[in-house]
């Protein structure tokens, strides 16, 4: 995302010009029609990719937008004599609006439920258009001024228009991929809660994506109607249309700009050649061969062709370089600084006030009537045995769960009812007990996602992310893929992601869990460093030993209730706390 899109658009235009030049040499109208259909399906693939490829929300229903575009163009021409030159832009507006109308209710669903719900829209539209009497609508032939109605005797015009649309669609796709738009969608794809907690307004980005995607699909649907000259509900709203978008993209490569284009450039001619060569000899065999080709590619290159080639090229390049030069895995351990709270300045100003907050899951009271204050500049440790309700408390504080009672006051504003990204925007960052990385993104990209909240400009966001990584000592790992990090590195990266949003309050959920003793020291030093620089931190932990060194104050939870709060020395001597941790039997040992 650091690169601008200029160079790539240049490449796209060159390829398009070569393609157009080749089509100019061809006289055969049938081949010209094929040359038109390849970009058509490539554009629909791009439209699908812009939404589903990046966001991971699989849409089986892109035919809705395609068909609405086709019918908008057709009906405008049939009923109002409006030329497709205007009809297609109108169709794009319709497609975008349809995206909003479909997205708004459907984004409540996730995973398979979302995919299935999307499947329902084109099916419903198909019947609606049949019921409305638009079973077969043909675009009237304009014998006078055909060009004004996008009707050309020379099919090369269609190739040209299709290519122009393809270049625009690819440029949009590139722009999205290289900006916070695409990165936010990728973050959503890999871990939606983490993206939300990192301040990404997931709903807003998803809405934008489906609207852009809907507009592109509608544009190409409108053009398809112009090429085919006859529109029927099954041909534009049918399952095959949605499937075509998926197939060319999966074949070429999901979440890549060139994927749908390569997919369409191979599959559409292949299907047609099979159809032409075998269709009249062994009818039906073309479908079998086509299916087998797809199955083979999916087996051999499950990511699609473009990523497969990219990977192969990368390997070859690495082999040429002598191999292994890139990975320096050993993390440079920071000198474990003397952690401690002696030299911290804690003010008495209350930044966060938790008042009587409660949450039950059925009969289980996970958090019950918990109240405490967080002072500016302090490190507040929330401790308690497993199952005490610590993580639930965090989920209540940062908006993942709504409480059943109580309120959370942050600078005179009640946070209850706000979505996690809104709370993040107000300056509260968090990490997770189970690390939630965006595994297929680099360390830098992971952290940049967090920086978007603080910086509206992409370049500044990157600078901020690099700075945050430096603060946690991860500068050397910026280009590594998050999926290959060690547990300690993941925790540091997640911390950097939280830091990149410039939070005034950090909620750290069991940041030390699963770390070795050296790694604990390193982490403690980092957290201590943050506190010294004036960050306010609330940290969950159940290992008392580390916490005593780190925290200024403790809040102790047990079975959802607050057991004690106060200075570490006092709390650790509290008999109730000892009992909660060790059981009654150990009481007398502990007193010595």
């Amino acid at each position: 995302m650091q690169r601008t899109i200029g160079r790539d658009v240049g490449l796209i235009i060159i390829v398009a010009i070569v393609y157009l030049a080749a089509s100019m040499l061809i006289e055969n109208q049938y081949y010209q029609l094929m040359l038109t259909l390849v970009p058509v399906w490539a554009i629909l693939g791009i439209s699908w990719n812009v939404f589903s490829g990046y966001s991971g929300l699989v849409s089986f229903g892109h035919a809705s937008f395609f068909g609405l575009g086709a019918y908008t163009v057709t009906l405008l021409m049939v009923k109002l004599n409006v030329s497709p030159w205007f009809g297609i832009p109108v169709g794009m507006v319709v497609g975008g609006l349809a995206g909003a109308l479909i997205g708004w209710p459907t984004f409540r669903l996730r995973g398979h439920y979302f995919a299935l719900a999307m499947l329902a829209y084109p099916l419903a539209l198909l019947y609606i258009f049949e019921w409305a009497g638009y079973q077969e609508v043909s675009l009237p032939m304009k014998r006078e001024s055909p060009a004004a109605f996008m009707q050309f005797k020379d099919y090369r015009w269609y190739v040209g228009i299709a290519l122009a649309m393809l270049v625009v669609a690819m440029a949009i796709s590139l722009k999205i991929e290289r900006s916070r738009f695409g990165l936010s969608l990728l973050a959503i794809k890999q871990n939606e809660p983490a993206a939300e907690a990192a301040g990404i307004n997931t709903l807003a980005w998803k809405m934008r994506a489906i609207m852009v995607s809907g507009a592109i699909a509608a544009a190409v649907g409108g053009f398809y109607a112009v090429v085919l000259l006859i529109v029927t509900p099954p041909s534009v709203f049918g399952m095959l249309t949605s499937a075509q978008a998926l197939i060319v993209t999966l074949f070429g490569g999901v979440a890549t700009v060139w994927g749908p284009v390569i997919g369409a450039a191979i599959l559409i001619p292949l299907a047609e050649i099979l159809h032409a060569e075998l269709g009249d000899k062994i009818p039906g065999i073309q479908g079998v061969v086509f299916g087998l080709a797809i199955v083979l590619v999916i087996l051999l290159a499950p990511e699609g062709i473009v990523p497969h080639i990219r990977e192969a090229l990368r390997k070859r390049r690495e082999a040429a370089l002598g191999g292994g030069a890139t990975s320096v895995t050993a993390s440079v351990l920071m000198e474990p600084a003397m952690a401690g709270h002696a030299n911290r300045t804690v003010s008495t100003e209350v930044v966060l006030k938790v008042e009587g907050i409660s949450r039950a899951f059925g009969g289980l009271k996970a958090v019950e009537d918990v109240s405490f204050d967080v002072h500016k500049g302090e490190v507040l440790g929330i401790i308690g045995p497993n199952g005490a309700g610590k993580t639930t408390l965090f989920n209540l504080l940062n908006g993942f769960l709504p409480p059943h009672a109580g309120r959370v006051m942050w600078r005179n504003e009640n946070l209850i009812g706000l979505r996690p990204n809104e709370i993040c925007r107000r300056g509260i960052g968090r990490t997770f007990q189970v690390v939630r990385p965006f595994a297929r993104m680099t360390v830098l990209q992971n952290v940049v996602v967090g920086a978007f909240v603080a910086e509206g400009d992409d370049d500044k966001a990157i600078a901020l992310a690099i700075e945050a990584l430096a603060r946690v000592g991860m500068s050397e790992r910026v280009t590594a893929l998050a999926g290959g990090l060690t547990n300690a590195e993941l925790r540091l990266m997640e911390l950097a992601r939280a830091l990149a949003s410039r939070p005034q309050l950090l909620l750290l959920d069991e940041t030390l869990a699963g770390l070795g003793s050296q790694e604990v020291e390193r982490m403690l030093a980092v957290i201590d460093g943050l506190a010294k620089n004036g960050s306010t931190i609330v940290i969950i932990e159940h290992t008392m030993q580390a916490m005593v060194r780190l925290a200024d104050r403790f809040v102790v939870l047990d079975h959802g209730r607050m057991l004690a709060q106060g200075k570490p020395e006092a709390v650790t001597k509290d008999p109730a706390v000892i009992e909660a941790y060790l059981g009654k039997r150990w009481m007398k040992h502990a007193q010595h």
Partner: protein
């Protein structure tokens, strides 16, 4: 598919070659004459409509064999016809591609028949019209010939004409069989597009004008889970006939089973369905001979009196149990092209189209269509194209209307 060319023996080939060489030396002018004339068939040979496409293909192939065995095109020194087929597949896009392929890769093709489904035919003709190639079609949609196109010729009555013509035909058939005027009728059908548009003119005054009362009106949303209440209603009210227009075979079967169970089957109440799929040989297996017995079906073309030899021939050569309208019309379409070729004497698309446009004959190809006349109006619709009614009798649908060309008398209960 062109086995007949392969059957020609080696010796004959050599002889033909010698003759050709001789001709080339003797009469160079004859070289310009095509020895083979290409005609096309664009039909769904794969996908959900593959069976219909197959039936069309069988009809066309048989016509080509008959024409060639009968001496080919006489005005062109016995030039043979060659059938080129293209699979229209399962989508309008594939149908259009197939047409485009024909137009581009077979510049010497004189015309084609196709493409069964109306929307396929609409897409195909958008291409062929621009290429000025003739298309003969049995597709019903009114739109096919409502676009001002000059190169499409519809041999069937349009869907609109069928739904207007259906009721008078049924009344006439009923009167011929019973001597009485039909007074009450029931509608049993689903709410999909084609039955709805078929029934529209009848509901909007068509029945009333003919003095027929609609006593049962049962419309369901497919698929049907139980037909009991619907059939019970028909049994208690006892209309004199039932317009039977479900779209799915499974729904049809369910209703027919229930009718049979309640003693209304086997033509005890005449049931009139719509569309050639109700005359498909497959129904023998999927629904069964007994349930289909007595069912009347409105079609655009079917085998008629005088075609007995053709029917027997078709059965023998293809193994099909009877000749449907798909086979019959594509058989006839080839003969229309032959007739046009005889007139023009050259394989030229535009001239062939002109010849079809000006054709007016009551013999030759006219024998393969109801009305017995080949003349196309300016819009491309065949003059006098009317509906036919067939009836399932003893496990075979036979023509019962129009009476003058019927192959059997209708089974219609007398009161």
């Amino acid at each position: 598919m062109m086995q007949f060319t392969r059957q020609v023996g080696m010796g004959r080939n050599v002889a033909a070659a010698l003759v050709a060489v001789g001709l080339a030396i003797a009469a160079p002018a004859a070289l310009g004459q095509a020895r083979e004339v290409k005609v096309g068939l664009i039909a769904p040979l794969s996908g959900p409509w593959a069976r219909q496409g197959e039936l069309m293909l069988k009809g066309a192939q048989m016509a080509i064999e008959d024409i060639n065995n009968g001496g080919g095109i006489k005005s062109m020194q016995g030039a043979k016809l060659r059938l080129v087929t293209a699979d229209a597949g399962d989508s309008t896009e594939k149908a259009k591609n197939a047409a485009q392929r024909f137009v581009a890769s077979e510049p010497d093709m004189i015309g084609a028949t196709g493409s069964w489904l109306s929307s396929f035919t609409l897409a195909v003709t958008e291409v062929t019209e621009r290429a000025e190639m003739s298309i003969l079609t049995l597709s019903y949609s009114d739109q096919i010939t409502a676009r001002g196109f000059k190169y499409v010729f519809q041999t069937s009555p349009t869907a609109g004409a069928q739904s207007v013509g259906a009721m008078p035909a049924i009344v006439e058939l009923g009167r011929a069989a019973t001597g009485q005027q039909l007074r009450t009728i029931a509608i049993v059908g689903d709410n999909t597009a084609s039955p709805v548009s078929f029934l529209k003119p009848m509901r909007e005054g068509g029945l009333e004008k003919m003095g027929i009362k609609l006593t049962v009106d049962e419309i369901f949303t497919p698929p049907l889970s139980d037909a009991t209440s619907m059939v019970q209603k028909v049994r208690s009210i006892r209309p004199e006939a039932v317009l039977f227009v479900p779209t799915n075979t499974s729904d049809s079967k369910l209703i027919l089973e229930k009718m049979n169970e309640m003693g209304l089957g086997r033509g005890r109440i005449p049931m009139i369905g719509n569309g050639a799929p109700l005359g498909m040989p497959e129904l023998l297996k999927s629904v069964g001979k007994d349930l289909m017995e007595g069912m009347l079906v409105i079609v655009a073309n079917w085998t008629q009196k005088g075609q007995e030899k053709l029917i027997a021939d078709f059965k023998k050569r293809t193994g099909e149990p009877w000749m449907t309208q798909d086979s019959l019309s594509s058989y006839g379409d080839m003969w229309i092209f032959k007739e046009a070729l005889e007139k023009t004497g050259v394989a030229d698309r535009k001239k062939i189209a002109d010849a079809i446009r000006t054709m007016d004959t009551k013999s030759g190809p006219a024998n393969f269509y109801p009305g017995g006349r080949i003349k196309f109006n300016d819009d491309g619709r065949r003059a006098g194209a009317g509906i036919m009614i067939i009836q399932w009798q003893n496990g075979e649908p036979v023509t019962v209307y129009p009476t003058d060309i019927a192959l059997a008398k209708p089974i219609w209960p007398k009161k």
